[in-house]
Amino acid sequence: MRRNQGCNPIEHAMARRQFLAGTAAGAVGIGVLEYQAQAEQLKHQQKRILQVFLQGGVSQLESWDPKPGTVHGGPFQAIPTSVPGIHISELLPHIAQRMHLLSIVRSINIKINNHEQGRQFMEKGRRVGDYPYVGSVASKYLTPPDSELPGYIHISSRGLTDVAGGAAFLGARHGQLKLKGVKPPSNLAAPNGIDPAADVRRDQLRLQFNRRFAERRSKALTDAYDASYQQAAKLMSRKAMFEGKASEKDLERYGTHDFGRYCLLARTLLENGATCVKVTHHGYDSHAENFNFHLEQLGEFDKPFCMLLDDLKERGMLESTLVLIHSEFGRTPKVNVRYGRDHWGTAWSIALGGCGIQPGAVIGKTNDTGTAVSEREVDAGHLFHTYLQAVGLDSTADHDLPGRSVPIGDPAAQPIKELLV
């Protein structure tokens, strides 16, 4: 595949070696300033994705595209943001203060009202077919070869079905490592009765068998297998990272509820080199009591997300981290008899920002009652191209697979150019 040559794995590797050398040298007298400069360089080099998935379908009218006082507007007000002229729902007061870091796409029509199909389309940029999720694509092309963490990590309180972890033909190595809450992946500890020395001997035996197996076969067959072992070994050595120990100050800022802790873990993982971290916040499928539930759920989402955004910015990571906030679809403008809103893929919104994204923009428009897109209609295919181009990947190139090539993004869709820096 072709890709933006702004950064590549070799550069990442070099940068890491320079960083490590600098760290060691620092101990024997190289100046702090040089260390900081190298650290800064490293922070800016690896491009990452933070994906926040509001599961169930957040209402665009209670978030990014409020229409108070209109027939379907609901009871909540719109509030001004840090970007003059942009208003969002009063349910997102912290994000409103940081709107200059994000942009909104208000003109999405995916023509899908089904949870699973909508989620697949939003992740893969294709309506049908066995294609990798955006996180798997990022893992494949943005993760440095010596990364200490899996390229694609998903934190969620409960399972969502993702075949092959979303990796499709990219291989299991680029599928999601799923974390059920803030705790290490299961089965990280060595089995009872296997001490470290025995574990090393077992691994040496495995490598010996591998070498013999590989003598008459393609190396690719054993590479993926080896990579799994290496990744597992790295995870075992970093188990503590997943335990989510947080300072009092961080807990005060992010909150002690699950989503606050997920955001803190996401920060740790991104800081430690994870390429794509997806955090799922459940509870938006509000067929009943839409307004009370959005009040509760967005109230829980707004502040911790903003603390994470602040921390990424403060650490100099925001310009190299693409931040996505999306659902599988939006919710119906019409309020049903249960004060609910139902599934609605016809005219809804997402927000995004950070790496490669023009901040403070609003793309597209819905009509006065929110029932249809009135300007600049896009779908998940366009968004998929946009995400990848924002992180420097050429989404119009092909996955180079043995014996075939597969377009990375849907050839029928294009990126939203005006959203890209």
């Binding site: 169930g56 108070p68 006082g69 027939v71 609901g74 009871p75 909540f76 007000q77 009063e90 309180s157 409960r158 699950d258 459940h282 509870g283 499928d285 509000s286 067929h287 009943a288 009591e289 307004f291 009370n292 539930f293 009040l295 509760e296 759920q297 309020v335 049903n336 008899v337 249960r338 609910g340």
Partner: protein, 361 residues
């Protein structure tokens, strides 16, 4: 319209019998309604809706006035004892005060009552104060004539859904999303009692969210009990699958006295209204998840209703009229319907045969 005129009939239709409840009038708005209050003199029925207006019907004539002045949906309404003042609370955090006499009323006063929604407004028994509660977790008390803040009570940890004055006027009870009930001493300006009505809240495990809250509250006029309407047994609240419930509490002890529940297990939804009837029964108004509704008539010591009545549309607000024979319900289909808890006069035919009701709009 003339919704009814019992004096013109030859039979005694004044004997209250809830099992004979029947619709006697209806008033139509184009938008789904959100709340309802009848003034203490039985002149007006006022409703909020899924729009920015208040609809005020004169019950005798059926004349409707549309009151403009809110920036959001109206969630709660109350009247002064003489019906001349009306207080409306909206999701935008404001209370509007209205004079009910002009042909085109405009707000006499707007009180910025809460940050976020005001969910409830109630007039004190002496008519001199208002109690409000909102999404800023506060309960506040206001002077009626000047709109000045008298008390601000903090203590709820989650959104406060309902508040009411005890009839002797010295205390308030408020209830939050998690079933937390606080009794406030107005003279001392502090909490008197903290009660946990855990039965009225639930955590939806699948969607990882809490559901609950008092959707209506009322003290019994003698002050010995209060009732709270809401939900219980949360199963899948995002689809409206939970049980409606009305809980009675003892004022002296704060203890729960009785849980009033659906007679039909298939009724799933929310209890949006509760009233103590002077004849010592309790009326509940239910919104079923199907979009239909139900009226409950309970004896205070029996879990199951002694009579229920299906409603064509979900109930979103309930009030008894001062004549104690009629009740009014705000429905999700945009109608206010008046029901009479007595037998029909011999000449009256069922609505299916001949509308005993008159639509106004």
């Amino acid at each position: 319209m003339n919704p009814e005129n019992p004096e013109t009939t030859e039979v005694d239709i004044n004997a209250i019998d809830p099992t004979k409840t029947h619709q006697v009038a209806e008033f139509k708005h184009d938008i789904a309604l959100t709340t309802l209050r009848v003034d203490p003199t039985d002149r007006f029925a006022a409703v909020g809706a899924e729009d920015l207006d208040v609809q005020l019907w004169e019950l005798q004539s059926g004349k409707r006035r549309t009151l403009k002045g809110h920036k959001s949906w109206v969630r709660s309404i109350d009247f002064s004892a003489d019906g001349n003042r009306m207080f409306t609370a909206c999701w935008g955090g404001e209370i509007n005060v209205w004079d009910t006499s002009p042909s085109e009323p405009s707000p006499l006063q707007t009180i910025r009552a809460h940050q976020g929604s005001v969910r409830f407004v109630r007039v004190s028994p002496d008519g001199k104060q208002l109690a409000t509660c909102g999404n800023d977790l506060l309960v506040r008390v206001w002077n009626v004539p000047d709109g000045k803040l008298v008390h601000e009570f903090s203590g709820h940890k989650r959104h406060v859904y309902g508040v009411d004055f005890h009839p002797e006027g010295k205390h308030l009870a408020s209830q939050d999303l998690m079933g937390g009930i606080i009794v406030w001493d107005l003279k001392a300006g502090k909490q008197l009692r903290n009660i946990k009505a855990s039965v009225m809240t639930g955590y939806d495990n699948k969607f990882a969210a809490d559901m609950g809250g008092a959707r209506d509250m009322q003290f019994k006029p003698d002050g010995n009990q209060w009732a709270s309407a809401g939900i219980t047994k949360v199963t899948n609240s995002f689809a409206g699958v939970q049980d409606p419930i009305i809980v009675l509490f003892d004022w002296e002890t704060g203890n729960e006295i009785k849980q009033l529940k659906a007679t039909d297990d298939n009724v799933k939804g929310i209890a949006w209204g509760v009233r103590f009837h002077p004849d010592n029964f309790i009326v509940g108004a239910i919104a079923d998840r199907s979009g239909k509704g139900e009226l409950w008539f309970h004896k205070p010591d029996e879990e199951k209703a002694f009579h229920t009545m299906k409603l064509s549309s979900a109930a979103r607000g309930l009030d008894l009229l001062a004549d104690s024979r009629r009740l009014a319900i705000a429905h999700a289909d945009g109608y206010v319907r008046l029901y009479r808890m007595t037998g029909k006069p011999p000449s009256a035919e069922t609505p299916a045969e001949k509308p005993a009701t008159e639509k106004t709009g």
